[in-house]
Subunit: 339 residues, 2 copies
């Protein structure tokens, strides 16, 4: 008595409650406009049948009829979630899931397998995004072409993390890296640091550029010397130290162990001889035994608000579609006064 279980459809509900399919749809969507009316008794009969059968509208058919299906694609760009980055991205996902549950929508994984040169192009296939009402973008770097096309096609989407314009403004919920970085620079200046170094790329992903921008702006304002070291290599650090740098601002906190190892090798005390500041959370898993001063990215909250912005866009409601959230400053033990 099995056989491939057919989906329960509105026709089934209609038959059960002795009305037409149209009526079922109207009850489901609670349409009151257009002058449509359903008697309360009928409505109840339909709702009962729905409850009994556990009927849910087929999201595909809903999309077909050009409707919302409350499914949101989550597109992640990191090449197959490089194992290291998982921990970093997880809080974002948690925020998304949490808010999705609250808003009663579902998340579709658009992270699908490796495609062209290790990276995924969003439009590589026939645009499965269309299955969903739109999508949320996650990842340090996002393909510019994809972004441009999303904007051009008017697909509702939100980026987790600020993005530069792409043929139009990109809706995002980002972290206020410039402000968070600047605040730490000011703290350092107050503590007497006159020569600071930013360690990292400072370009490429917006999040890097934003940090560096905040760094330079605040340093200039504070009248402190500022430089950038491309990486945490020993030679570069040695040179900076010899040149009078007293505080290092790490773009990538996962570099902390490398820097402390170098400091230990040189017999430098932190923060006695050198201060250390972490600009965010590590994107690679590392064990750090120091209580590093720096800031924390409100990842979970970013995930949550991303969905809020998404729904506002979908409903075309008024809202701030480019949000920068404040990072929490962490007062650790690695930023000290210059002795």
């Amino acid at each position: 008595m099995t056989g491939p279980r057919r989906r329960v459809t509105q026709r089934d509900i209609a038959r059960l409650s002795d009305v037409s399919q149209a009526t079922v749809s109207l009850v489901l969507n609670n349409r009151l406009d257009g002058g449509v009316r359903i008697a309360e008794a009928t409505r109840q009969r339909v709702l009962d049948a729905i409850r009994e059968t556990g009927y849910v509208a087929d999201p595909v058919a809903r999309r077909m009829a050009d409707q919302y299906n409350r499914i949101i694609g989550v597109f992640t760009y990191e090449p197959v979630f490089p194992s290291g980055a998982r921990d970093f991205f997880h809080p974002f996902l948690l925020g998304l899931e949490e808010q999705a549950e609250r808003l009663g929508c579902d998340l579709l994984l658009l992270t699908s397998a490796p495609v062209v040169d290790g990276r995924r192009r969003m439009f590589a296939d026939g645009s499965r995004i269309r299955l969903a009402d739109g999508c949320v973008l996650l990842g340090q770097e996002v393909d510019r072409d994809d972004l441009t096309r999303l904007v051009a096609e008017g697909v509702p989407f939100v980026s987790v993390g600020r993005r530069d314009d792409a043929g139009g403004p990109v809706p995002y919920v980002g972290a206020d890296y410039p402000a968070a970085t600047a605040a730490l620079v000011r703290r350092a200046a107050e503590l007497g640091h006159r020569s600071l170094a930013y360690v990292g790329r400072g370009e490429g992903p917006e999040s890097y550029a934003d940090r560096l921008r905040g760094f330079h702006a605040a340093a200039e304002e504070a009248g402190a010397a500022a430089r950038r070291l491309p990486g945490a290599g020993s030679e570069a650090l040695d040179a900076a130290l010899a040149d009078g740098v007293t505080a290092l601002f790490l773009e990538e906190p996962a570099d902390v162990p490398a820097v402390t190892a170098w400091a230990a090798a040189r017999g430098l005390g932190v923060p006695a001889d050198l201060s250390l500041v972490a600009l965010g959370d590590p994107t690679r898993p590392v064990s750090i035994d120091l209580d590093v001063t720096g800031f924390t990215i409100p990842r979970r909250e970013m995930g949550r608000q991303a969905l809020d912005v998404f729904f506002a866009l979908l409903k075309e409601a008024e809202t701030d579609t480019q949000r920068l959230l404040t990072c929490e400053q962490h007062d650790g033990a690695t930023l000290g006064p210059v002795l």
Copy 2:
């Protein structure tokens, strides 16, 4: 002149190449069966139009015409993916995603079902599973009631990891823990070990029970003494050691650091004084500096094959719906001969 551009449809192609929509579809799908034929010239005209316009079939409409919506729910039981377990579960997800891409379907996260006492019940909300064609189950432990209901309702589903019957056979793609464990026991016996200890629960999740079963069976066959220690506590280990145990089989490889710390404290060399075997991969992130002998769970492949089984079930094709995959043995440096 913007506005969301209308999609190019088969009707457009049909008009352009002066054929019917049906012909376009037939050309696209290259149907040769059913006695349908398209003249080569016509075919080329249609293909040209497709090329010119960049037409791609709307995935939504495709699925609409199909009996299935090609959406597969991924249900995970771990309480919102407890942070430690993420690493462990990720390879399964990768396998699922990879195969989903290959099979042209999408994964819907069903991880956000209402959380009742820290855990999710699948049917708590009644019907979200019905959004999808069926689902894949992921997690160490699966709710028995949910399982029973899935079987009873005939929802197509596959468990990643073997499951005991639940009012009927449960389709699964699991790891062959008994065989993998037994192989290691035999190796130990060959190396002269006569008294072995299994460290762990050995019950609860099927994966634990399976390991213990394989352990006991192989030990008996090899004529070696076998016992089980509930955990890796120092007292238990001391007692076992005092009692002549020369090899420990760890159900949970994340316990390796605890055991090696204990061994170091007792001045025991591994494998000189004591052999160590890891029965699988750590479910919690730990850093292990030893090259531990043991086996690896084919997680990615399990994810992949789970989707294969799922589709076979969906299409009611003949297939082995209860698969146990072979674990890869890893010949490390912690299982040595008894001196």
